[in-house]
């Protein structure tokens, strides 16, 4: 393959100049017209702060939010994977009722904006479940008990457990629709002939799924699945609207108390970027090894 000369044409210089000009204009508008005082030096303190009494570094608002976001993403992903796989299989079922139910659920969730879906699930489902199982009292009991450390490691502040669980549940329900479609596509990509061969040696539908279809389908859909996981991390910011104390919520808190609008949001954007981009690099590495 002939090496193409990597030189900059005059068009490239023109584009760079336009971009530079664009950012310069924004900068001047912000610093000049808006009279904004940048306080970048204060930000690190809101990530990690030195606790005088305990004598150690303690996570502050932004880092707390980040850790909660990570926890929620992991739990919601696992739940969405399970629910989505069931939905995907149901969508391919020979039973008309099951197939139609799954299809209806998927179509609803894919055609309504995430914020609306999350609010609906929150009020109609999560609130009811939390009340029905009396989760609030249980969580408070754990928070007050002698050693809540193990629970706190997995779920953060136990007093906020009900809202966190609500957040995980609605996020998982929402994302399961997309996982379901991915699984369905995977299942339907398995050639019909193999399924006929499985049936011809006497396998029932369950065996056919378990030993022939799903092992191949799930392996095949790992790339779009990992994409969906990254999507889920981004969508998790929506549940800040139902008062789950994840990164976006904490940033709003930070901004309202310190008025450091630009620094806070830029930092949060950087944190999300690091998280998602890091995950995509990780998945790319894992997929690369598979080949």
């Amino acid at each position: 393959m002939r090496r193409r000369k990597r030189s900059l044409h005059w068009i490239d210089w023109l584009i760079l100049a336009v971009l530079a000009g664009f950012f310069a204009v924004i900068w001047f508008r912000i610093s000049g017209t808006l009279n904004y005082k940048w306080q970048w030096d204060r930000i690190p303190n809101y990530i990690l702060r030195w606790d005088e009494e305990d004598g150690r570094w303690v996570a502050n608002l932004l880092l707390q939010g980040l850790i909660t976001t990570i926890r929620i993403s992991i739990y919601a992903s696992i739940l969405a994977l399970i629910l989505g796989t069931i939905l995907g299989i149901a969508r391919c079922s020979t039973n008309l009722a099951i197939r139609m139910l799954a299809r209806t659920y998927l179509e609803f969730l894919r055609n309504i904006p995430p914020v609306v879906v999350i609010f609906i699930f929150y009020f109609f489902l999560s609130e009811q479940i939390v009340a029905a199982f009396d989760i609030e009292r249980w969580a408070r009991g754990i928070a007050r008990s002698e050693n809540p450390e193990m629970w706190e490691f997995f779920f953060g502040d136990m007093r906020r457990f009900p809202s966190m669980i609500s957040g995980v549940l609605v996020l998982a329900l929402f994302e399961s629709a997309f996982v379901g479609e991915i699984v369905r596509a995977g299942i339907q990509s398995i050639p019909r002939g193999q399924r006929e061969a499985a049936r011809a040696i006497g396998m029932g539908w369950g065996d056919e799924m378990r030993f022939v279809v799903l092992p191949q389908a799930l392996r095949k859909v790992i790339p779009p699945m990992s994409n969906q996981f990254i999507s889920l991390v981004k969508d998790s910011s929506i549940i800040s609207l139902i008062s789950v104390q994840e990164l976006t919520y904490k940033t709003v808190e930070l901004v309202s108390s310190t008025r450091m609008i630009f620094e806070a949001w830029l930092t949060t954007a950087a944190l999300y970027f690091l998280l998602c981009f890091g995950l995509s690099l990780l998945f790319r590495r894992l997929e690369g090894e598979r080949r």
């Binding site: 002939g193 061969a197 049936r199 011809a200 006497g202 029932g204 065996d207």
Partner: protein, 276 residues
């Protein structure tokens, strides 16, 4: 054509490649009830009629070759025999079991009838040995060691024992089809169906598969083969069934069919096919 199964077989034919015919409950001469019986079978795909008034009896141990122009319903007919297609009217009885909506019946028939497909349809995510043993282990609930021994035995009989731990993608077409034949045989069926088994193979690999099928025929297995390989038909078939446009036009032993067929359409077909 070989002695009957006086060599003491209990229950199922456990080794169809053993010498002599594998016969259950008597030879075809004294036990004339057909092992496959199609009566007035019709099949529709929407408005299109794929099978019209198909009547066919196949005796146990008989080797039937089904031929005809494409679109004549040959594949549809044999796929109805193991319920990969559902017939709309008429009845199909396989080894005493009527094929209908009952899942139990369908599963019983499918364990009794092995099928070899044109596109091999091996499971690509399993090794060759796993392809062979998955049926016996999961469907017949056989132990793993016993299933593996069975698998290796049939792999040996199709002359590729060294390929046991390879994946299907690493084998040639002819080898893959032989694995597919072994996989069907591992379920120890009484009937083997072949749906154009060599049509997807390169010419130099056709013979290795046909040789295996000829050996299988020599053991007394009931075989229904849809194929264009007339040399094979002449050598092995007890009866040639000629189909066209969803109907059985003629059924005759090969000597008669190839030299003096009754119907004009059979004669036309033979002229086209035997020209090379």
């Amino acid at each position: 054509m070989g002695a009957d199964g006086a060599a003491g077989r209990q229950g199922r034919a456990s080794d169809p490649f053993a010498t002599g015919r594998a016969v259950q409950g008597g030879s075809p001469v004294t036990d004339p009830a057909p092992i496959i019986a199609l009566r007035d079978v019709c099949k529709f795909y929407g408005p299109f009629q794929a099978l019209t008034d198909v009547n066919l009896d196949i005796r146990q141990g008989e080797r039937v070759v089904v031929c005809g122009p494409s679109g004549s319903g040959k594949s549809t007919m044999i796929r109805c025999i193991n319920r990969l297609e559902e017939h709309d009217t008429g009845s199909i009885i396989v080894d005493g079991v009527e094929l209908d909506e009952e899942t139990r019946n369908i599963r019983a028939v499918r364990q009794d009838v092995g099928m070899v497909f044109q596109q091999f349809n091996l499971f690509p995510h399993l090794t060759v040995l796993e392809n062979l043993t998955i049926g016996p282990i999961r469907v017949r609930r056989m132990g793993r060691a016993q299933a593996e021994a069975l698998g290796r035995k049939f792999l040996d009989r199709v002359h590729i024992p060294e390929q046991a731990d390879k994946y299907p993608a690493q084998l040639s077409g002819g080898q893959q089809q032989r694995v597919a034949i072994a996989r069907a045989l591992c379920m120890e069926p009484r009937i083997m169906l072949f749906d154009e088994p060599t049509s997807a193979l390169d010419p130099e690999m056709i013979n290795e598969v046909l040789d295996v099928m000829v050996e299988l025929a020599g053991t007394g297995m009931t075989m229904v083969v849809v194929t264009h390989e007339m040399g094979f038909a002449r050598k092995v078939a007890d009866r040639i069934v000629f189909m066209e446009a969803g109907r059985i036009v003629e059924a005759a032993p090969p000597e008669k069919f190839f030299s003096a067929p009754d119907s004009e359409r059979a004669r036309l077909f033979l002229n086209q096919i035997l020209d090379h």
